[in-house]
Amino acid sequence: MSAKDPNRRDLLRVLGASVGAGVGATAGLAASAGEAAAAPARTRRWGMVIDLDRCTLCSSCTVACKQENNVPVVGPDDEHVGAQIEWLSILWQEPEQPGGLPQGMPFPCQHCADAPCVKVCPVGATYKNDEGITMQIWDRCIGCRYCMVACPYGRRSFNWETPRWDGTQIQMLNPDVATRTGGVVEKCTFCYQRVRRVRERAALEGREIEDEEVRRLPACAAACPAEAIVFGDLADPESRVSELARDPRRFQLLDYLGTDPSVIYLKRDRR
């Protein structure tokens, strides 16, 4: 659990003061927990910059995402309309004013710094990890779908039925990602399995993760022929992703909601 959530921590302190009686009895427990916690070397915030001026909507990212993350195929029949599982799809926004440009954009989970889905999860199946990724632990999810209705971006998908892989299709599953069962919510993880792989390799080699090796790390970024998707550490001002995020064309989706997404878009630029 992230310790960086100031609002919640403040709330806790206030509540903690009012709780009173129970505190004394359990203070010892808290102290012992505190000792064991190890400080991370450096606080990362993984983020993504999607340059819409580069993006051509070729949709490779959406397919790469499905391939990497064992996202099940949900059929086209009427029953499955709206049951599609989309970690990353193309968001299409018609112009608000007549004569404006329509805008399409690769649309992964925004990994909000202040994520509405995380707040509402009753069991902690979804949470912000130390590196700013909104994770979903499939096994813990009870399927209440609260996170889905809380997410302003609609970037969470429910397994309306247990996914099936027909015949030999099962052989192409990525062994690094667990398949999900029916009745759980799933979402983009920034390809955490790949991040983990890179981190372990770096740790085994006794070095820090380099920006170079993560720029095209997530499956969507790796597949993008236009190199429109760049991944990296937003907390590191030197990283490519931070550099791009300083571009004046930057915008975040629904920034007025105060969610502070870690996915930063760069506006399309047309004559």
């Binding site: 129970g22 427990l29 709206g82 989309e86 299409w92 509402v120 009753p122 949470y127 302003p152 029916g182």
Partner: protein
């Protein structure tokens, strides 16, 4: 016991109307249908419902949540009526208090089932919610406060209030059920001290329950009201509106229930029209408040509202939800008008009152549908795909089954226990209660332990002791919190059922000389009589 009462006021199980059998049959069939539909849902997965991903053109929450909110709303009436009756000494309402509490309990149970029906993995939910629930999720309040606190306080209220009759029924009731009555009425002595104690404890309970009730129903409103990402939900009005709407539907349901029960159980003489009239007045007041809320809501969401809010308002008032919306407005208007006119004209027609009450419930269901669904299907801040939500027969069947269960529970209970409490004369509630330090100590201890559990359970639920980890430090903290809440209310049971010290020397102010039968009613004394020399001596 009860001999002092007029015969018609004694607790008894009356012969039921033949319609009772028909209704039980219908309700049982409904339950069967519900079970079948739910098994279909379990087998096929949630694809069997009409729910789909919001943003993909669907609604992730639909009928189940609508009826969950509805059932919990219905439960409002019971405990409110009981508390009001106690706190403000409204004797008119006394005959319907038990009915009201029963409605609360059954409706809450059924509501909890609706949540389970909604969960993608119900078994995981049953296990994980008590273990891991997080207070930052408005669901926490739902699962702990509503289910444990609200349900259990009602239960405690219900059980304590019923002891008087249970003790009596242990003597006169059907022999087969007497063990149940004896258990329920265990430790009850029909002396004025006991009545006085109950009178006091019920006041404390009632005073505790009323704020809890507001909190619990507000929690329900917060589930929707604090979601900034859902235009149409995000509103400070949500919590108070939920409380009021709960009142509307709950009062309506209680009116319908009382009217039906009067007929079915031939209780016309025990449930006076006056009680119904009182409820009718309560209904129009609440309906008027809610109508006001609706006007405020519509005004806010149409007058210079942001795009998304306006889109929803447009869709609700004139789009695909228009029929539901205008039905809601009409129903609610009539639910206000009918009892209001009756109030002005000083008339009371049970039939019209039932019509108004039914309309109030129709409005309650539809309004919840209008709250839950359009924000998901049409409420995107972004231009996500829009769609429609239509419940499938599976969902309708499950909800039907839940409603059947509600009816069945009440009908069956009516066959085994008197639905109208035996009135206790005012005078008997004001006896001098002897000082019993042990009883007070036990009660206070229980309450303190409860407070400790609540404090720890809540703080650990907040992960205050978890360091940087996600889980509570102690497993099942939310359950501990809920246990604390339950225990807190149980201290009332401790207070009332703590075995009385019977010392000869203690003078008791007794209005009527105790009879031998009273001691027979004292089950605990009876049980003990074989070994307690004092008791033997006494008899």
């Amino acid at each position: 016991m009860h001999a002092e009462l007029r015969p018609e006021l004694r607790p008894e199980l009356r012969r039921v109307s033949p319609i009772w059998y028909l209704m039980v049959l219908v309700a049982a069939i409904a339950v069967g249908v519900g079970l079948y539909c739910y098994s279909v849902q379990l087998a096929r997965g949630d694809i069997a419902t009409g729910l789909r991903n919001p943003g993909n053109g669907g609604a992730a929450w639909g009928f189940y949540i609508v009826f969950y909110v509805y059932f919990v709303g219905v439960s409002f009436a019971g405990i409110t009526v009981a508390s009001l009756a106690r706190v403000f000494h409204i004797d008119t309402l006394k005959p319907v208090t038990r009915l009201a509490e029963l409605l609360t309990i059954v409706a809450l149970g059924v509501g909890a089932m609706m949540v389970l029906a909604d969960l993608g993995r119900p078994l995981d939910g049953l296990l994980k919610l008590p273990a891991l629930a997080r207070p930052s999720s408005p669901f926490y309040g739902t699962f702990t406060l509503v289910v444990s606190g609200y349900l259990f306080s009602s239960l405690v209220f219900f059980v304590l209030a019923g002891r008087y009759d249970a003790a009596a029924m242990a003597q006169t009731g059907p022999p087969l059920l007497r063990p149940l009555y004896r258990l329920w009425g265990a430790g009850f002595r029909d002396d004025d001290v006991a009545h006085t104690r109950h009178w006091r404890s019920s006041f404390v309970l009632a005073m505790t329950i009323m704020p809890l009730l507001i909190v619990a129903h507000s929690t329900l409103g917060f589930i929707f009201g604090i979601q900034a990402g859902r235009p149409g939900w995000f509103s400070a009005l949500q919590a108070p509106a939920f409380v009021v709407m709960a009142g509307v539907s709950g009062t309506g349901a209680l009116i319908v229930l009382a009217a039906i029960v009067r007929r079915l159980f031939r209780l016309e003489d025990r449930i006076p029209i006056a009680a119904l009239r009182w409820l009718g007045n309560f209904l129009w007041v609440l309906a008027a408040v809610y109508l006001y809320f609706m006007i405020v809501e519509e005004l806010t969401s149409t007058y210079a509202a942001p795009r998304a809010d306006r889109r929803i308002a447009h869709e609700v008032v004139g789009g695909s939800f228009a029929i539901s919306f205008w039905l809601t407005v009409g129903s609610l208007g009539l639910a206000f008008l009918i009892p209001f006119v009756m109030y002005l004209r000083r008339l009371t027609s049970v039939a019209w009152l039932v019509v108004a009450a039914l309309l109030a419930n129709v409005a309650a269901v539809l309004k919840r549908l209008l709250i839950v669904v359009p924000s998901q299907t049409h409420g995107g801040h972004l231009q996500l795909r829009e769609g429609l939500y239509t419940p499938t027969w599976v969902e309708i069947g499950v909800v039907l089954g839940a409603a059947g269960l509600l009816v069945l529970g009440i009908l069956l209970f009516g066959r085994i226990f008197p639905l109208v409490p035996t009135p206790v004369p005012e005078a008997r509630r004001h006896a001098a209660v002897p000082r019993e330090p042990l009883r007070v100590l036990a009660t206070v201890t229980c309450a303190l332990i409860a407070a400790g559990l609540i404090a720890f359970g809540l703080s650990d639920s907040f992960r205050m002791w978890s360091g940087d980890e996600l889980d509570p430090r102690v497993p099942f903290s939310p359950a501990i919190f809920a246990t604390g809440v339950i225990l807190l209310f149980s201290s009332a049971i401790v207070y009332e059922t703590f075995p009385a010290r019977r010392r000869r020397a203690t003078p008791r102010r007794v209005i009527r000389p105790p009879r031998a039968r009273i001691h027979r009613v004292d089950v605990r004394a009876q049980l003990r009589s074989s070994r307690d020399p004092r008791v033997r001596r006494k008899s």
